[in-house]
């Protein structure tokens, strides 16, 4: 966010001063920005380079090196990636739908009902935002074992379903719904659930989209917890699958590993590119920078 604002401000400055003066400040800023962007994108660029070229070009840069898709084929056949994808897909869907249901109901209660202890409960929900999930790994493992769910997809998602962030975000959005809309619906005889589904949820669509994308990308990329709680092909998500694949024997070529990496992060990248405008907008609208 700050980067783009700096950028537009500088562009304006450029436009105004271009004729008379060489603006040192602007040049430095622009340069630093390009440098940062390049450094940030470097691993991705390298992954793309190696994934689409034969292994011989792993460490050599040649503009007209021959392109190939062999690495992807090799990677796909070397490990049960189809299964991993299915697992991740199930996992992400499970988490997202449960989060939507739970957070919506909780946020609605916090936004529109007055009940004793509401503020204390909401503070507790907010406290959840301060706790790093990784701290709880041991506790979570114990709980999951007691539930007898170790090495299941449900176990990977369970600790994340009651999301404090989601409740907070949706509550804030619900509170901006004009109370006259609420009144109008009540006069027409809508039940509370109907009110939620017919008025609040449709009006909060941008928030759902933004939150959904954050949640999906987070859980698609999550690694540590799935690594600990899963130990079979049937439950492993792609992140864990990828690391297992890259570690089995040192002989695997970088180009194949990178092809696999691209493959696993591809769906996310595409989704982000498709939704990026709505994504940024909804976050601005949701009041988060």
């Amino acid at each position: 966010m700050t980067e783009t604002t700096v950028n537009t401000v500088n562009k304006k400055n450029l436009g105004r001063r271009f004729e008379f003066k060489f603006d040192f400040d602007t040049v430095l800023n622009t340069f630093a920005m390009w440098l940062l962007a390049f450094l940030w994108a470097l691993p991705l660029l390298y992954a793309i380079w190696t994934a689409f070229h034969p292994a011989a070009y792993e460490t050599r840069f040649e503009l007209f090196a021959p392109l190939t898709l062999d690495n992807f084929v090799k990677a796909w056949n070397a490990a049960p990636f189809a299964r991993y994808f299915l697992n991740t897909f199930l996992l992400v869907t499970l988490i997202l739908t449960s989060q939507f249901v739970l957070c919506t109901l909780a946020a609605f209660a916090f936004a529109r009902f007055k009940f004793p202890g509401r503020n204390i409960l909401f503070t507790l929900v907010l406290l959840q935002l301060l706790v790093m999930p990784d701290i709880l790994i041991v506790e979570n493992y114990k709980t999951i074992r007691q539930l007898g769910l170790v090495d299941t997809i449900v176990a990977i998602g369970l600790p994340y379903i009651a999301s404090g962030f989601g409740i907070f975000l949706l509550r804030q959005t619900f509170m901006t719904v004009p109370s006259e809309l609420d009144d109008a619906a009540r006069v027409e005889g809508v039940s509370f659930l109907g009110l939620l589904l017919k008025v609040y949820v449709p009006l909060a669509k941008p928030t759902y989209l933004a939150y959904g994308l954050v949640s999906v990308s987070h859980h698609w990329n999550n690694f540590l917890w799935p690594l600990i709680i899963t130990n079979s092909v049937e439950t492993r998500p792609v992140t864990v699958g990828l690391s297992v694949f890259a570690a089995i024997d040192a002989g695997v070529e970088w180009s194949v590993i990178n092809a696999a990496t691209l493959m696993t992060s591809g769906p996310l990248l595409i989704a982000f590119l498709l939704f990026q405008r709505q994504f940024v907008q909804s976050f601005m609208r949701a009041g988060i920078r």
Partner: protein, 368 residues
Amino acid sequence: MIQTSSLPTPGQAIELAAVTKQWGETVALKQIDLTVAPGTFTVLLGPSGCGKSTTLRIIAGLESASSGTVSIADRDVTLLPPSERDLAMVFQSYALFPHLSVAENILFGLKVRRTPKKQQRERLLHTADVLGLSPYLSRKPSQLSGGQQQRVALGRAIIAEKPICLMDEPLSNLDAKLRNSMRMEIRELQQTLGFSMVYVTHDQAEAITMADQVVLMQEGEIAQAGTPREIYQTPATIFVAGFIGTPPMNLIKAADVLQATAPGKGMEFLRGMHDSAANLSQSTSELLIGIRPEHIGTQQQASISAKILGMEYLGSDLLVTCRIGESILLARMPGNTEIAANETLPLVWAEENTAWFDSNSGARIRLD
């Protein structure tokens, strides 16, 4: 303008008995008693913050009364939710659902109540036709003008043909011209459909032109309830006298009138205006004389003389601001009256047009 063929909805009576509403320390309504006869148009009028919206929301069931009872059609509904009171409501901001089209907005209530699809369609087409909304049914509210949005809100209220319709300042966001025409349309709609209407406004022109009954509120109490004529002609308190009418009724201290008349003639003059000597024998400093600007005239032989402070020529009328003692008053005279500025003006008014108020209690003194 509006033609409807649908059967009139029989209106229902509304009755508030000793309704009080408070939020913590704030007392919004103090012991309100109000009766709305079936099929009539009642306007709640009053300055900002006097409790009009609160009264309306208590009738609707959107707010609960702290004490007292609300009945609709002789049924105690005090504890019932809005949906079980069988009424429709139009809000000041229209409260249209921005994510739904005009048609879906109008049909909202029917869909909630699962009215058969065929009936929904028929009623929608009819309502849209009545309100001139047919070309816009598939648009979103944000693609409509203010007046059209207002009609959608009206449509949502009348499609269900409820026996009671409540409106909270539905015209306040429109420009003057549109407001005038919508005023007439709403009144016409109410008369053809025959429902009972409770309408909130702080615009007295709206109240006077539309209402069967005007309820003037002041700080959580009902100052006066009556037909527009009664409210205008016989204001019950100083507040009502000073609120109704543009410009409102003049309130002149009786003591000032005494002094402005020729020496020794004051008492006689006052008595000449009403013969309730008993009232006059109390101190004149506690009495106020109310007289409407249009009832003040000028005549050579008049016994009260006022000092002219200013004149405003309005073509058909001449508005004269003048002073009697400490009291400032406005007189509305025919436009062709010739008055020189800076002159002292001899004033007359007819006895039957005066109202007498007790300046301590603010109440009107009955003269019969």
